[in-house]
């Protein structure tokens, strides 16, 4: 092939390569001190744009790295969304007693940083007399026993909106809604600008202000790339309905732990699912409906 022809045919690729090369030169200095994971993560695209082979390579690399770092075998999956599944959640406000078991089950399951503490579920204590008045809620209640007289409790985590504001505002498309309705974050693409946190009406997004820390023996080794794999300093994270579990047919950790059975989860498109039953037979409400985020997280009064 003549040089000219080669140049023509490979121009696009060459430009890419050039850009990559230029990038490599530009950031080489800064990255020289980083480990291989960081270096390689720097160059791959957003997870949803990757080919199957690229994904496999990345997952294998991550498994190797994590296994090395955390001692015993680590699994990082990327189970895709299933056809005909749209996940939804319902929470029975007349049952919840505010015991916060879900908060800590979630932290354990999802490898959320213990120090500095990152918790995806906020349980609000509200006054029965005032109803759902979020601006008059108490996140830090700490009585001997719950429920407290005259109060009820409202756990809030990601509402998995159908019109997620956080996704709309992300300047780099590091967060998106999966076909099964779960809003996920690509921790390798997020630049940490926190615009999504300003945009979320539910305080569902959490930032790793410091380096996340989880003790080796507390690490959950069954992970999903878009879910509970170890996070980095300086990126945003959020509830994924336990994507690593639900994509395999299991219930989210908060559903399984809830001692009063207030939490209901399933495929809203399946008429036989609990969630579908709740929607049809109970009167539900969604949080801040006036914002029109259209959550797939419903609250109801089971009594």
């Amino acid at each position: 092939m003549k040089p000219d022809a080669r140049r023509r045919s490979g121009r696009k690729a060459t430009r890419r390569q050039f850009l990559k090369g230029a990038l490599a030169a530009a950031v080489g200095g800064g990255l020289a001190g980083c480990d291989v994971t960081t270096r390689e993560a720097f160059f791959h695209r957003r997870f949803k744009e990757l080919s199957r082979a690229e994904k496999r390579d990345i997952l294998e690399r991550l498994e190797r790295d994590y296994t090395e770092k955390y001692g015993s075998p680590f699994s990082v999956s990327a189970d895709p969304a299933r056809e005909g599944v749209l996940f939804a959640y319902a929470l029975d406000l007349s049952r919840c007693v505010g015991c916060r078991r879900c908060v800590y089950a979630c932290v354990r399951e999802n490898n959320a940083s213990r120090d500095p503490a990152v918790q995806w579920i906020s349980v609000l204590e509200l006054e029965k007399l005032k109803g759902v008045d979020i601006y008059d809620s108490n996140l830090y209640y700490s009585p001997e026993q719950v429920p407290r007289e005259g109060h009820f409790y409202m756990p809030v985590a990601c509402q998995q909106c159908r019109r997620p504001q956080c996704v709309t505002v992300c300047p780099v498309g590091a967060t998106w809604q999966e076909p099964d309705g779960i809003v996920v974050v690509d921790y390798d693409w997020c630049i940490g600008c926190r615009y999504c946190m300003a945009a979320c009406p539910y305080g569902a997004r959490h930032f790793n202000w410091g380096a996340p820390h989880v003790d080796q023996e507390d690490m959950n080794r069954e992970t999903h790339y878009l879910g509970n794999r170890p996070r980095y300093k300086g990126v945003v994270e959020k509830c994924t309905f336990c994507i690593q579990r639900v994509r395999r047919g299991r219930y989210p950790a908060c559903v399984e732990i809830c001692p009063v059975g207030a939490r209901k989860f399933g495929n809203i498109l399946d008429e036989k699912s609990e969630i579908n039953y709740v929607i049809r037979n109970k009167r539900v409400f969604i949080l801040k409906e006036e914002i029109n985020t259209q959550p797939k997280f419903y609250y109801f009064y089971g009594i």
Binding site: D92, R100, S142, N276
Partner: protein, 232 residues
Amino acid sequence: MPVGSQRRWTPGAWCRQRPWAGRGVVPPLACAVAVGLAFLSGPSCRPTLAEGTGPAESLATEAGRDREQQGHEQVGAVVPEWQRAAAGTAEEIEEFPVPPPPFSYGIFPCSDCHGDMEVDTKPRKLEDEHEEIVLHHGPRERWCFDCHNPGNRDVLRLASGKTIPFTESYLLCGQCHGPKFRDWRAGVHGKRTGRWDGRKEYLLCAHCHNPHAPRFPPLTPKPPPPRPENIH
């Protein structure tokens, strides 16, 4: 159904396709039986609610893992058929997968003690045995044999006179608590574990509610999150 992320700029598109609309009405429910009955004497069985040791929790995690592989074939197979069940009578209801009833240690079978005892049907204050049982369940006239079977003590007795094993005690509770029973069968009342796309794990009413005093006991909450001021 499109999820909507691709169509962020056309709000309201989703509004028009509410998934719960137009799905038909719940079939009439014929399961609420009228007679006022409930558990009375029998096993003293406060549910274990200590963190991480709840029966359903351990069940759920282990069972979930065991069945990880076969999950897909099970889709829809063992899901409680609440529609059919709700429309039918107790006899038609399939068995719900439940862990063993929460008997306190050594109390079952009841016939070990009661087998050769004479049956005294007269309401009275119990003094020799079961004196720790305090009834806080419905009207004052409630008495042991509203639920327990005077003859064979190892089974319970429905209002119809039919006896059932302790593992099906939900049928007994369901006689009074019809709407709860209906929700329970659908997986909506009470804790449900297992798989969202397959076999669910149920709990008996008595796993969470002491049949003699069914009000759910208060819990000690886990600690509140650290205040942002204290995160360093």
